[in-house]
């Protein structure tokens, strides 16, 4: 851990440093949340989309804002904050539209995923903070998703998730998910896998 001296050398104030998400939840909670994210990844990579979709709370939003290449001085501090505005998003689903996406995958006619892509969701850098609401947590994590499709198609998507997880019995529900893809121009032919 950095000493106070090093912090000030880097111009990092102590409160900002704390808010970076150093462990502030019991270690069991951290482990439980990580295990939840790994299990979720397994559902996606095993094409268990219906079960995966049931991890979302009734009032959940699942969205991927676009990223922008802007001058540093005109860069918005947080693109995710804007996603509630009129700016277009790659998707901005509630549980109903998410349900339709799963229905599409189950239709047997969704050619972009039939035969299905093989995907590998790697989830890492899991940072947990209490959300202020009882039983809810702000969870930031990084992901790397590898897709291999048909014979020779490979896509790699890296990015970040900002989740709100809600305690639900022994496990959690996803109450909110913002996905920030680290690509401005998406370098693939579609985004037909879930993140």
């Amino acid at each position: 851990m950095l000493t106070t001296g090093e912090q000030s050398q880097r111009g990092t104030s102590a409160p900002a440093f704390r808010s970076m998400g150093m462990a502030r939840v019991p270690v069991e909670t951290q482990v439980a949340i990580e295990q939840f994210l790994y299990a979720e990844a397994e559902l996606l990579d095993d094409w268990q989309w219906r079960t995966w979709q049931q991890l979302f709370a009734e009032d959940a939003h699942y969205r991927m804002p676009i990223r922008r290449n802007r001058l540093r001085r005109q860069r918005k501090t947080d693109e995710a904050e804007d996603s509630g505005g009129l700016e277009v998003a790659h998707f901005d689903d509630d549980v109903n539209s998410l349900d339709l996406r799963v229905q599409q995958l189950e239709s047997g006619m969704h050619w972009a995923e039939d035969p299905p892509s093989r995907s590998r969701h790697l989830v890492t850098n899991v940072r947990v903070q209490p959300a202020g609401t009882d039983g809810e947590f702000h969870v930031r994590s990084s992901f790397l998703v590898y897709r291999n499709r048909l014979e020779a198609e490979v896509d790699l998507w890296a990015g970040e998730r900002r989740d709100v997880l809600r305690t639900h019995g022994e496990s959690f529900l996803i109450a909110d998910r913002i996905i920030l893809l680290d690509q401005n121009l998406v370098l693939s032919k579609n985004l037909s896998v879930f993140f």
Partner: protein
């Protein structure tokens, strides 16, 4: 590719018989010639007026293979420059949009103002002995720029005819989505950009008229979520002598019956009927403005197919809304558009699958390049004298007339030394208008003038 290859191109593009050799989708020489002869001359879409609201607002886009910078001027006009420094050709602006007073090249520091003038050269005295004539080294500007109802287009060709002539009978169909309310449209902030490993013409030709693919390609979205969409489709297909195309389905205005915008659209019907007439008011369509602007008015979508090599293109996709619509309608439009179109849209993901795989096959194969593709659907069933719709019209939703017209026009651009004049087959649009006062009366012509004045 030398000029004698016109013979070869004529063999590959037999639009009269509806046969196309796929070499035009993969050949590098043909692609280079396309950038020069087609994208170097045609009117190309730059931006909608609402994307550059104030002085100094800029955005980066492409005209064919070349990056261009569109900048709103202090006098309210828009100018478009090659985004390439006159010293060594570095991009002078790398942000996709924003606001600026000037643009400093990050290589050696030559600086240009928003009018494209070279206003600062580092070490002008100690390096150039004050001998550099700055006036001669401003950014290269496009030859012509013009707008139609807020849609800005530019061309590198000083001999290109006026924009409205280039758009020709397509104007009738463009009006159906830009001029359906008094306030016109606006483009929501942000653009979805993604990459297809295939040829840009595959996208352009599909949006010009290929309603045929929707039934199969979009079975899991259009067919599953709203089966009525694909049940005995009634509509028309329009092919322009200028290469444009539009196809529309009658008696609906959105792609899904339960679309959250249904109520708003329903309330708009009387206004739309009054402004547009019966023939265009209550329809869902898709179109291509030759060569690479397309859209889906029923899904609020507008897009460009930017070529990035013979076998790669980018789709840039925007969402359009009625400018005067309430905020919650715009918000609903934004969400519903994202659900259907774009890189992650339930409709669009299945198009990417097709275009990308065709690209792989052409890239790797030899025999698959030799096989002629069939563009014969509806051939011989179209008319140039439809009593209602301008252009060459097929009174059927399925057909490949727009594709035949697209490749005919493409061939003309590719094989002619000077601006390829398209001899008119169809009656002149203005005569056509005059003969149908119901659809385009004097009042609506006047309204168009007023609307245009608003945009200045």
């Amino acid at each position: 590719m030398s000029d004698t290859d016109a013979t070869r191109l004529n063999e590959l593009v037999d639009w009269e018989n509806g046969l196309i050799g796929p070499e035009i989708f993969i050949n590098d020489d043909i692609y280079r010639q396309e950038l020069d002869r087609l994208f170097g001359r045609a009117w190309l879409f730059i931006a909608h007026d609402s994307m550059l609201p104030g002085p100094g607002d800029f955005l980066n886009t492409y005209m064919g293979g070349d990056p261009v910078l569109a900048i709103r001027q202090r006098d309210g006009g828009v100018r478009v420059f090659l985004n390439a420094c006159r010293h060594r050709g570095m991009k002078v602006c790398r942000a996709e949009d924003g606001n600026a007073k000037n643009f400093m090249c990050s290589y050696h520091g030559w600086t240009y103002n928003t009018a494209g003038e070279l206003i600062n050269v580092p070490n002008l005295d100690t390096a150039y002995f004050n001998e550099l004539d700055q006036k001669r080294w401003g950014l290269v500007e496009v030859a012509q720029i013009a707008q139609y109802k807020g849609l800005w287009f530019a061309t590198f060709d000083p001999t290109a005819p006026p924009l409205e002539d280039f758009l020709g009978d397509m104007l009738y169909y463009i009006d159906a989505w830009v001029d359906r309310t008094p306030g016109g449209i606006e483009v929501l902030p942000g653009v979805i950009k993604w990459t297809i490993h295939g040829n840009w013409k595959l996208g352009a030709e599909q949006f010009g008229g290929d309603g045929y693919h929707a039934v199969i390609t979009h079975a899991s979205s259009l067919g599953t979520f709203d089966p009525s969409f694909l049940r005995d489709i009634k509509g028309i297909e329009f092919a322009s002598r200028q290469g444009h195309g539009y196809s529309m389905i009658f008696d609906r205005m959105t792609r899904f019956a339960d679309d959250p915008l249904g109520r708003y659209n329903q309330a708009q019907v009387p206004e739309r009927l009054e402004r547009l007439g019966d023939a265009r008011a209550n329809t869902v369509g898709n179109f291509t403005v030759f060569p690479n602007l397309s859209g889906l008015p029923g899904s609020a979508n507008l897009r460009m197919w930017h070529p990035k090599g013979p076998n790669e293109f980018e789709i840039w996709s925007w969402t359009i809304v009625d400018k005067d619509a309430p905020e919650e309608v715009k918000r609903a439009q934004r969400t519903s558009a994202a659900f259907t179109e774009g890189a992650a849209g339930v409709v669009e993901t299945d198009d990417g699958e097709n275009w990308d795989l065709i690209g792989q096959m052409l890239q790797r194969g030899t025999q698959t390049r030799k096989m002629a593709w069939n563009y014969q659907m509806g051939h011989g069933h179209e008319t140039d004298h439809d009593p209602v719709y301008p252009g060459r019209v097929l009174r059927n939703y399925f057909g490949e007339g727009p594709q035949r017209a697209f490749y005919r026009r493409w061939l003309e651009f590719m094989t002619s030394e000077s601006w390829p004049v398209a001899e008119a087959l169809e009656p002149d649009r203005r005569e056509h208008e005059a003969s149908r006062p119901g659809a385009f009366g004097a009042a609506s012509a006047l309204r168009r003038e007023v609307h245009r004045a608003d945009h200045r």
